[in-house]
Amino acid sequence: MAALMLSEAEWQAILISLRVAGVAVGWILVPGVALAWLMARREFRGKALLDGVLHLPLVLPPVVVGYLLLLSLGRQGWLGQWLDQWFGVTLPFTWQGAAVAGGVMAFPLLVRAVRLSLEAVDVKLEAAASTLGAGRWRVFFTITLPLAFPGLLTGGVLAFARALSEFGATITFAANIPGETRTLPLALYTLIQTPGAEAAAARLCVLSIVIAMLSLLASEWLARHARRRLSERDG
């Protein structure tokens, strides 16, 4: 399908976008589910505050998030210094950094969706499992998580889409480096800034729409599949 006639730069942008979004969802999955469980199942002091902090990336201008990431994870940042010193890891201006930015922006969406689906899981079933000898972890992996799976799927897809379309935090923290951090939105932005590149910009625009549609369809298919599996069980 070279007939798609995508230029190398376009392919590069697509691949970087998919990789950045995939890694972004990958790294927030475990902490996201853990936090969602905490919010759904536990009462503790400062819960409202934590809830607020969790939602910050949704309401803050993305540039602010990117700047905060730069301050903390940059080479001079308190966390960045430590990462550099102990692991030789540098995040700013790398595609991994873009994945961090995308993950942070997508985090609230994932937590929200998973939390809602965890709250819908009947705690009575969890109690029943514990009387059958299942410890907390076994209850979580055999009862809670499977029953919350559709929500996890929705949350994952939402987060993926969010990371894919991330712009402000990414360009602030990871910059716009061709072949490294230039994702689709950044590539499109670059073309818009370039005189005479209207046609190329339009192509990327169409491409973005196609990818968005494809991921929506995929998530719809997955959700229907999961629902069918559950409803089969519901008779």
């Binding site: 029943a128 499992a129 514990s130 059958l132 000898g133 559950l230 008779g235």
Partner: protein, 375 residues
């Protein structure tokens, strides 16, 4: 079968008795109980809704913690607030059958049964599946089961975890009459065939009389009385709690023979007196427990002539219950050899017949209904 009315369990303390002393507040409700439950047979936690039965069961299962108190099973401390000890539910090895079955919707029946199954229980899977009649359901998902089927699977699932004690929280709730009787029969059979003590929460006198050996009577978070069922059933002051108008006596008898053309079965009481009941499928010589509702017993001073009362039992008045203001009826306890039969008549009849303690009477029994259990 003892005849006196003890306030405490007569059974000697056994090694694996369940001893508890708990105090728990929940909103405006307070549960305060101190009990020893026997390590065998069926113990019913009985009382109206809101009396604290389910709260007590949840404390035993470890699903809740008491504000203060301790729970011990044999020598093992499950909960002790003073020593800050609390064994979580999954380490207690107590099976729980909840009111709503609580099957896992994403596992088939087989998966539900296997969920808590211990390796050593694998060999018993087939027996338990057969006992509960759930063999044809193994590949189905819970949502496709009827209420009665789901309860049976839940019972099987709990049994396969090889519990030291089986806790059942009103397992018949929401079932219609026929299903209820069917499941009650399964549970009664279970209690007989499987040597696991059962704690059974209920607010239905029928269920209680059908399967309980011991009884804990709860009211507003307090223990009103506890002890062997037969003893508590003969106590006048508990009549209101134990069925009121429908109160009954339990009598043990031996099958003497059948009269199939009349659809009757002849029984013999331990003191030799005959008792005829609607036909039951039991071999001559087997022991049965029959339930004689108090309101079905009439009294006469002498053997009457021809009456439609088939059963005439010679007995002695042992105790006459206290007259209750505003009530026409008074309760009597009659001695029938080793057993006790309760009767109810109006105070007026009592005076006219001149009945006092020690008077010989003939108890006329109109109908006898059965206990599901064999004696």
């Amino acid at each position: 079968m003892s005849s006196i009315t003890p306030t405490h369990d007569l059974h000697p303390q056994r090694r694996d008795d369940l001893q508890l002393t708990v105090d728990k507040r929940q909103g405006g409700f307070r549960l305060e109980a101190s009990l020893t439950l026997p390590a065998s047979g069926v113990t019913a936690l009985f009382g109206p809704s809101g009396s604290g039965k389910t709260s007590l069961l949840r404390l035993i299962a470890g699903l809740d913690r008491p504000d203060s108190g301790s729970i011990r099973l044999g020598h093992e401390t499950l909960t002790d607030t003073r020593r800050r000890r609390f064994v979580p539910p999954h380490r207690r090895r107590l099976g729980v059958v909840f009111q709503e079955a609580r099957l896992f919707p994403h596992y088939r029946v087989r998966g539900n049964l296997a969920y808590g199954m211990r390796g050593t229980a694998r060999a018993r899977l087939d027996d338990i599946v057969e006992l509960l009649g759930i063999g044809h359901l193994l590949e189905r998902f819970p949502a496709t089961l009827s209420g009665g089927e789901a309860r049976r699977v839940a019972i099987g699932r709990a049994l396969l975890s090889e519990p030291r004690l089986l806790l059942m929280d009103e397992p018949l709730t929401g079932l219609d009459g026929a299903r209820k009787q069917e499941l009650l029969d399964y549970i009664a059979r279970l209690a007989r065939d499987i040597d696991i003590p059962i704690v059974y929460v209920s607010h239905e006198t029928d269920e209680l009389i059908a399967i309980a050996d011991h009884l804990v009577l709860l009211e507003q978070g307090r223990v009103l009385a506890h002890g062997p069922l037969d003893d508590l059933l003969t106590r006048f002051e508990l009549t209101d709690q134990l069925g009121g108008f429908d109160a009954a006596s339990l009598i043990t008898a031996t099958v003497d023979g059948h009269e199939p053309h009349y659809a009757l079965t002849r029984l013999r009481l331990p003191d030799g007196q005959p008792l005829t009941i609607p036909i039951v499928d039991a071999a001559p010589g087997s022991r049965l427990r029959v339930r004689i509702p108090v309101r079905e017993v009439a009294l006469a001073l002498d053997e009457p002539g021809a009456t439609s009362y088939r059963n005439r039992l010679h007995a002695t008045v042992e105790e006459i219950g206290p007259p209750q203001p505003g009530r026409a009826a008074v309760e009597l306890r009659l001695r029938l050899g080793e057993q006790v039969l309760r009767a109810r008549l109006t105070r007026k009849s009592l005076d006219e017949m001149g009945l006092t303690t020690g008077t010989s009477v003939v108890a006329l029994v109109r109908s006898v209904s059965f206990d599901t259990r064999r004696g």
